[in-house]
């Protein structure tokens, strides 16, 4: 089985065997959960419950707002105690009563029903970004997908949530993959997994051979997909979506594009498991597998955790020793963020909590000057020039940064990892990216205001010209022009007329240009609104009207002067 290579990458200390030795356990039911309204990419959900409402596990408590958003469900049964701008708090009644949706058979139901189910269950990508899954399932509307890749690489150190999920539910995950493959019309499923998870690989192989036996019966299924398992070498960041696709299929996802542009859809095993549970069992997304690890806890391992459980409670249950604790990191040690407070709930995207001691993940030594050694460049999986980016990011040369493709950076942290001067490179890139994003928004806002201002000026000018014309017309009716100085007047008018004609032609051209720009933009992006371009067109039209009015007025005056 060929495995292709992405450039760069590093080999890391894995530290996975702390959490992958013990089986998957259920965390105790929390007494209280706090469910943030924004646990996903896009708009926060809108609460649809009030304080003191009784809820059950799986009750809808907040509805998605707009297209890119996700529903939110109660993760314990009990009473809503607080609904704030950002979160809903529920106190448990300890009964754990479920309110599940009716089960569906994904082999027979039609696509719309299944997509609706994913939507109503609030399913989002559990790998980290939290992108709403129902949108991803509709991808077939715009793109032709031929491959679904299941990203079980889990390349960051410490994290073993997908590993354990695959060991315990290989069949369920592969069935979930088939649901998604059916929805997006993929012909084949490729599962990629790093070679440091032998147990998960074994479990997957067993599950796949079972599937083959089922598939051998010709009657069993009308949509048959070809499933392959690819074991890849352990190298960070092989689990990055682009790197993963490169490694598995030898395809490059275009910069700024999506895997769908090259006919690939990528899903995390945890998401697929949740998808199956949503469809088969009617269970909304209310719990997930979280890796609890680090030297500061005595019972590391993987747990099914209800969303909204306080991280502090969770870690204490896993035997947190507070004196040992240096910091808690959400996510992996490479891309995760340290928590400033433990009073934070577990969210849909929380895949790992590392309670690290100081010796385990020490603070970075003091940063020294960049000596341009190029170590960062040789490990960058996107082939950027991290050290050039670092210089320009600190100098705030934003144009140069974009020329050096800053936005292609996946923030994997490989460069920071190898930097001999301990420069927090990724931190620089993140703040530079955010700075540029804010700047773009501000520029767009300023442009918008400018166009509105120009439109207003044009409108005022047009109204002025029309008023002038009306006044002139009235004056013409009242009194005949005097004969004196007629010759010089008409000469001046001639000149005036010519410049007005030129102005009118220019205005016409401007209108045509604006129309063309708008039409092109509309053709490129039919779903987007082009308010600014429309304003610009309206401005050009106003200008044309003003020019027209002035011209006709001048012509009328001319005619009056010549006729008598």
């Amino acid at each position: 089985m060929p495995a292709y290579e992405f450039p760069g990458g590093i080999t890391l200390l894995e530290r996975k065997d702390r959490s992958n030795q013990s089986p998957l356990r259920n965390a105790p039911l929390p007494a209280q959960v706090t469910l943030p309204l924004k646990q996903h990419t896009g708009n926060p959900a809108i609460p649809c419950v009030a304080t003191d409402d009784a809820v059950q596990v799986g009750s809808l408590i907040a509805k998605r707002d707009g297209m890119v958003s996700a529903n939110l469900h109660a993760s314990i049964s009990g009473t809503v105690t607080q609904v704030s701008d950002s979160a809903i708090t529920i106190d448990a009644d300890g009964l754990d009563r479920w309110q599940a949706l009716p089960p569906l058979d994904w082999r027979t139901e039609n696509h719309a029903v299944l997509i609706d189910r994913l939507d109503s269950c609030g399913l989002v990508g559990l790998g980290g970004a939290g992108f709403p899954s129902y949108i991803k399932a509709q991808i077939a509307d715009h793109h032709r997908i031929d491959t679904l890749v299941v990203n079980a690489a889990e390349c960051e150190p410490y994290i073993t949530a997908d590993d354990l999920a695959l060991r315990h539910y290989p069949t369920d995950i592969m069935e979930g993959a088939q649901i998604v493959a059916r929805l997006c019309g993929a012909q084949q499923i490729v599962v990629g997994i790093e070679d440091n998870k032998p147990d998960a690989i074994r479990a997957l192989k067993v599950a796949l051979s079972d599937f083959e036996q089922i598939n051998d019966h010709p009657t069993s299924d009308q949509h048959r997909v070809n499933i392959t398992l690819k074991v890849i070498e352990t190298r960070y960041p092989s689990g990055g979506e682009r790197q993963f696709i490169k490694k598995l299929l030898n395809l490059d996802v275009p910069s700024g594009g999506l895997p769908a542009d090259i006919g690939v859809l990528c899903h995390n095993p945890g998401t697929l498991l949740a998808a199956l549970r949503a469809v088969r069992d009617g269970k909304p997304l209310v719990e997930r597998i979280v890796t609890l690890t680090g030297d500061a806890i005595s019972a590391p391992g993987n747990y099914w955790v209800r969303l909204g459980t306080s991280i502090e409670t969770l870690l204490l249950q896993a035997g947190l020793e507070n004196q040992q604790l240096y910091h808690v990191i959400v996510g992996g040690p490479m891309m995760g963020v340290p928590l400033s407070t433990l009073d934070t709930p577990v969210m849909k995207t929380t895949n790992c909590l590392i309670a690290a001691t100081r010796e385990e993940l020490p603070p970075a030594p003091a940063e020294s000057s960049c000596i341009r050694c190029g170590a960062c460049e040789s490990v960058c999986p996107v082939q950027l020039l991290p050290q050039q980016l670092h210089w320009y990011a600190r100098a705030e040369s934003d144009d140069t940064l974009e020329k050096l493709h800053l936005f292609d950076c996946i923030e994997c942290g490989a460069c920071s990892f190898v930097c001999p001067s301990y420069i927090p490179l990724v931190q620089d890139y993140r703040s530079a990216k955010q700075r540029i994003r804010v700047k773009r928004i501000e520029t767009a806002k300023a442009d918008h205001a400018k166009h509105r201002f120009e439109f207003r000026q044009a409108r005022l000018a047009r109204e002025d010209a029309e008023k002038q014309a009306r006044r002139q017309a009235r004056r013409g009716q009242i009194r005949q022009p005097s004969d004196s100085s007629k010759a010089s007047d008409s000469a001046a008018l001639q000149v005036d007329l010519r410049s007005l004609r030129i102005a009118q032609t220019a205005a016409k051209a401007a209108v045509r240009k604006a129309e063309k720009t708008l039409a092109r933009a509309a053709a490129q992006d039919p779903n987007q609104r082009h308010d600014d371009l429309e304003t610009q067109l309206a401005t050009a039209q106003e200008n044309l009207k003003a020019a027209d009015t002035r011209l006709t007025e001048a012509r009328a005056t001319m005619a009056q002067q010549e006729s008598p």
Binding site: L13, L361, V382, C419, S421
Partner: protein, 359 residues
Amino acid sequence: MSMMHASQLTAKSTNAKSLTAKTFNATPPTAQLMRWVIIATLPGLAVMTFYFGIGVISNVLLAGLFALGAEALALKLRQRSLRPALSDSSALLTGVLLGASLPPASPWWLIGIGILAAVVVAKHLYGGLGQNPFNPAMVGYALLLVSFPTYMTLWSPPQSFIPENLWAQIGGTLPASMLDALSGATPLDAFKHKGEAVLAREFWATQPLPEGALSAWRNVALAWLAGGLLLIAKRIISWHIPVSMLVSMALLATLFYASSPSHFASPFFHLTTGAAIFGAFFIATDPVSAATSRRGKLFFGAGIGALVMIIRTFGGYPDAVAFVVLLMNLCVPLLDIYTVPRPTGQPKAQQQTEQVDRS
């Protein structure tokens, strides 16, 4: 925000199994990096001492000492804290490299002036470590070469381990009349000044060099090569610059030699004399003033090799590694602009222009 750093890989971990498993492609921290380069100069220095006497050691010691002093002085004037900057050994390295390139037992004032130019002018006036556009050691060397040519050509023939007037030499009290007696030509010098009419074969037949000079230089070069290979093996430097520089030198030398073996020296001669090997592994690879991308490094090295050959063959200097490195340092910003690699997922060059046309 990366919590992990390569430096942890050397730290003791509770988990021994994962530590032993893999080879890591990580560079050591900056200070260690500098120390490794200094360590890698030892074979070269040892062989040089063997052939050219204790004067080599005195050079390196004096230069290193002066470099630390100059660094401390500059930091003091710039109101910087001394310890972090001094402990990264970058100044010491500059001193060692400059000391190694000077003729043995150079007078102390000569070394002092060179170090001042290198550390204070070339490094700190530009903003300190990481900010200097030029290779500090070579700035010092070039300044000395143009200012004190007499002293800079005192490559005495292979001689006794401790020369008789060592102290007078180092103290700079040696009368001028004695200087000429000391001066001996390097092989490159001798070949340069053989005169147009003299054919190479005739020239070598006259035995222009003292006994053993050629083999001495060759062995020194081999020792530098050993140190350089150590640096590559330890991933302190990448192979791109040394290889491209030596290959381009060898290619040009072969070309010249093939065109007229009677006038030009052989490629082997060019690679084993002068500062070719030393320059390729220790000077041109200074990361701060070299090109950054891998492609840029290849061009940078090739440019140095080509220019060295051109100056050696047609220019006024017998060897010109210092000037050439400085010249190529000048080209680095340009190289950096034109060798930006294409990130994964970015369209290829042709598609890119199409995109621009469309927009």
